[in-house]
Structures are given as structure tokens and as C-alpha cells.
Amino acid sequence: MTAAHVPPSSAEPLEFRGATKRYPGAAEPAVDALTLEVPAGEICVLVGPSGCGKTTAMRMVNRMIDMTDGDILLGGRSVREREPSALRREIGYVIQQVGLFPHRTIAQNIGTVPELLGWDRRRRDERVAELLALTGLDEDLASRYPAQLSGGQRQRVGVARALATDPPVMLMDEPFGAIDPINRERLQNEFLRLQERLRRTIVFVTHDIDEAIKMGDRIAVLQRGGRLQQYATPAELLMQPANDFVRDFVGADRALKRLALLRVRDVDLWTEADIDFRLEVDGDGRPVAWIWPDGRRSTSVTVVERDDVLRDALSDLLQSQTQYGAVVDPRGRLQGILSVELIHDFLVPEAAAASGDA
């Protein structure tokens, strides 16, 4: 690796301990005794309606806002003991408006914190080149100014700049909020792939529950007044909302949202023994036709892959004649059978148990 390569710092856990922010004269606190732990290397999404204190909570981590009570521990160490500007240089910071410096080139923007830390020119340049590649930006952009880039490119530069010194913790405030839906989806996916490699501890703020479910390893749902309603994995949140507020917030379609988190392979598939008709396969084990009990043969077989998202699979099944689908591996060989009924039982285990008793 080059001299500029930053040895990956190990991500550090982050812990809110009764962190509270009270503004003078305000009736209720902006953040009310927030207590939660973010394990090292995980994305914690703070989500809630506007005015719920999610951004305030995030900004207390790097002391852009100072707590009035409680504490936040970064790697076991209180942020209150740290000198704010030194603390902030160790924490990546990405905001919705990106906040690139219009008067500095892309390379200079990305090199901001390395420059503050006194890295020499060569080391900075090499790190900039690495980060441009990492975030999927053309190296020709290094000498451009922010105004010459598209919104998506600017947001990538924002992420590259936050990663410049490979900080153990990153704060991201609606980082993809100002991007059009198609590019937002792309940036989200790219960022998740990046995070798989980098494994930073990330606090991610959004008002969009779908984004929260997609990006979060854990989700903290906050209500107005900065009160934590539930802190759980996306699946738990969708399956067992803690109260009416969370249930409303995740939306009436939370079952569909859960389907988007699951894949066909997560379901215990049926075999031919479980159904009262047969599935004909060819010599390579690929499904060919349904054979009905009365001997009728139907070659319109809905095929889904094991790795398909369950929501897409359900959509395919609902459009098929039979509401049954043949599940195949990537080489097209039959692995089992999926049905609308099976998906329902999988989503609502109690209902399945009850019908089994009957």
C-alpha cells in the first residue's frame, strides 16, 4: 500500500447515557434523557418526525451542541472532557447540504482535516486519490471546484471528506436528503457497500422510515421532545412496534416493509410433499410445469430465486395463476416451493400456530 494509506482505525462503540438537551425557556427538553448504545461498526439510525430532537442528539456527539445533562461516551471516554475542535477532527461529519467549501478545490476540500492535522502535501494528495477512488469519483475532479459538480458528486465528496482520516465514528445528518430518488437509492447502496468494508460506527439521522429501515443496523425512533420510543433492529421494529406512536410512524404497510428486509431463503420452503399436486422438472432439475390432481398440465410456472427479496417474490406470486412459485438456485434448479400462504404464516407465526391447532 502507499505511504498515504491510513491504517484502518478500529471503530469504537458509542453510548448515550441519559443525554439531555434543554434550551432555556423551552417548555420541554429537545432531547430527553436519551440512553442507547451503538456497538462498534454498526449504523444507528435516529428517526422521527421533525422537531423530535434527532439532529440535536446527533450534534451532541461532536459537541456542536453541548448537553445540559447526562453524558455521551465515545470508546468509553466522555465527550465532555474533550476539547471540541480536537474531538470533531476524530469524528466524520456529513450534512444534508454537504457544506463543501466553494472556494476550495475538491482535493482541498477532501484534504481539510488532514491539513488541520499537519499532514504533508504528498501524503494528503495520495489520500485524496484513494478517497476519490473509494467513493467512485473520477480523479480528474480533484482540481475542480464544488460548483462544477453535480449534486450526487458533491454528496460523494462530502462522504470522502468525512472519511479522510478514517475516523472511528461518523455522524451523518440526512446525507442523501437533497438527492433525487434514483440517485439517492444508488448512493445508499454504494454507502452500504462501503460500510461493509469500513465498518465505522455511524449515527445516521433521517426523517424517512424507509431509509432508516434500509440503512440501519439499529433504529432509534424518537418522538417530539426527544423521547426515545423504541430502539431495535429494523425487523424487530416492524414486527413488534413498542407502542401506537411507533406503529403509526413505521406505517400501515409495515408488513410490506418487513418483506423488503427478508429474502426467499429466509423462509422454510415447502417440498412437493406439502402440496397436493406435482411440479415437473427437466433433466437438469429445472421446473417445467405444474401437474394438477386431475392430470392437467400447466407450463406457466412462476419462478423466484432464493436470493430474491421476499416482497418482489410475493408480488410475482400474486400475479401468477396459482399463487404458488417454484424457488430455484442461481443455476435454475428447483429448491422448493413458495406460496402466498407460506409467506403469511412466516410473517405472522402466531396465526400459523393457531391454524395448526384448529
Partner: protein
């Protein structure tokens, strides 16, 4: 003087021009030296006053940028200085600072303050909030934020203020001879009935304003490359 050869013919015509109080380029060519010192004095007065005003107004603007309550009082005081008639200020200062450059420079500097203060402050205020927030969030101290982010981004407004202040001061410095500081006002006043003199001295003032303005514009373009990058 005795006329000789071709020059003699020319000079004779010039002299007729002068007695007729016309516009006489020949006379100007012969008497250029009487404008050299006033022009240099004029440049000196302008540059010194604008530089002093820039330092004072810049410090005040930076101060008021962080302590907003100062904006009102500073605007009021510099505003009053700006509205005082300049000749009156020269005479008011005479008993204290006497005749000479100091009196003229104090008065001229006072005139630049409001223009420069307002422009520098407007430039600092126009720095995008997100750039400021990102800068603080990345760990820039207040001082680093000011010198690395806020002042560079305020440069277009600051330079615009400098241009206005400079051209205004070139005009006002034409009155500096009242304070005994010379400048192009002096030769202009000395022969104010002679058209050629008035037009040439006045023209020098205008040319000086244009040249200084163009120089500042050139500097501005070279130090704000990002403004032409979009």
C-alpha cells in the same frame, strides 16, 4: 522664449490657444511636470487612506461579525462620519492635526469606513451557513474558520467594497489641498479659469480612478478563481 524652427510654429499656435482659453494639448505637453507631484500626492493620499480604512473597517467588521450587537453602533458612527461634508472635516481637524497629509488622511479614511465596514460585514454574513457548519463540524477553530473559510468566501464582497471606496476617495482627495496635503485639486484650483488646466487635472482624477479600479478588479479575479468556475 524665442521660437525656433518647427517647434516655434507649434508654440506660437499653442500660445494663441492659451490666450483664447481653448483646449490646448500642446500646452499640456509643455507643462506636464507641474502635474507630476500633485498626481503622486493624489495616489499617496488615496492608497494610504483606503489602506488605513480597510484595516480599521476590517477589524470592526470581524468584531461585529462575532458580536452582533456592535453592528448598530458601528454603522451609526461610521454613517455620521460618512455624511459630514469633507471640507468641514478638514477645517475641524486643522486646529488639532495642523495642515498637511495627516489631516487629509484622517478625513479621507473616515469616509471609507462605512462603505468598507458594510461590504466586509455583508461578505462575511453571506458565507453559506452549511459551509460554516461543516467547517466547525470538522474541527476548525473559530480563528481557522475565519481565515480559511469566511474571509476567503467574503472576498468578492470585500473587493467590491474596496473598489467603491477607492473611486470615492480619488474624488474626495481632490479637496485635500484645503488641508494643505496637495493632490490634483491644487493645480486645478490654481488656474481654475483656464479650461485646458481644469479639463486635464480633472481628467487625471478620472483616469486615476479608472486605473486603480481596474487594478483592484484584476487582483480580485486572480484571488477568487472559484467565482468563475461554475
Amino acid at each position: 522664449m524665442i521660437a525656433q524652427g518647427d517647434n516655434g510654429f507649434f508654440r506660437e499656435r499653442t500660445d494663441t490657444c492659451v490666450t483664447d482659453n481653448g483646449l490646448c494639448p500642446g500646452w499640456v505637453v509643455d507643462h506636464l511636470d507641474r502635474y507630476t507631484t500633485p498626481l503622486l500626492q493624489h495616489v499617496f493620499l488615496t492608497v494610504t487612506s483606503v489602506a488605513a480604512g480597510f484595516l480599521i473597517a476590517g477589524s470592526l467588521a470581524i468584531l461585529a461579525h462575532r458580536r452582533r450587537w456592535l453592528v448598530g453602533p458601528i454603522t451609526n458612527v461610521t454613517g455620521i462620519l460618512y455624511t459630514l461634508p469633507s471640507v468641514a472635516v478638514f477645517f475641524l481637524l486643522l486646529p488639532i492635526t495642523g495642515r498637511g497629509n495627516l489631516t487629509a488622511i484622517i478625513a479621507l479614511t473616515a469616509y471609507t469606513l462605512l462603505i468598507l465596514f458594510r461590504n466586509i460585514l455583508a461578505g462575511l454574513d453571506a458565507v453559506p451557513a452549511d459551509a460554516r457548519d461543516a467547517g466547525r463540524g470538522m474541527g476548525l477553530t473559530d480563528r481557522q474558520l475565519l481565515w480559511r473559510v469566511e474571509l476567503p468566501l467574503a472576498l468578492p464582497a470585500i473587493m467590491a467594497g474596496l473598489r467603491i471606496a477607492t473611486t470615492t476617495t480619488v474624488g474626495l482627495a481632490a479637496l485635500a489641498f484645503f488641508a494643505g496635503a496637495g493632490g490634483l485639486g491644487e493645480p486645478l484650483e490654481a488656474q481654475k479659469a483656464f479650461k485646458t488646466n481644469v479639463v486635464f487635472a480633472g481628467g487625471l482624477c478620472v483616469a486615476l480612478a479608472i486605473v486603480l479600479d481596474a487594478m483592484i478588479l484584476l487582483v480580485q479575479r486572480s484571488i477568487t478563481p472559484w467565482t468563475r468556475a461554475a
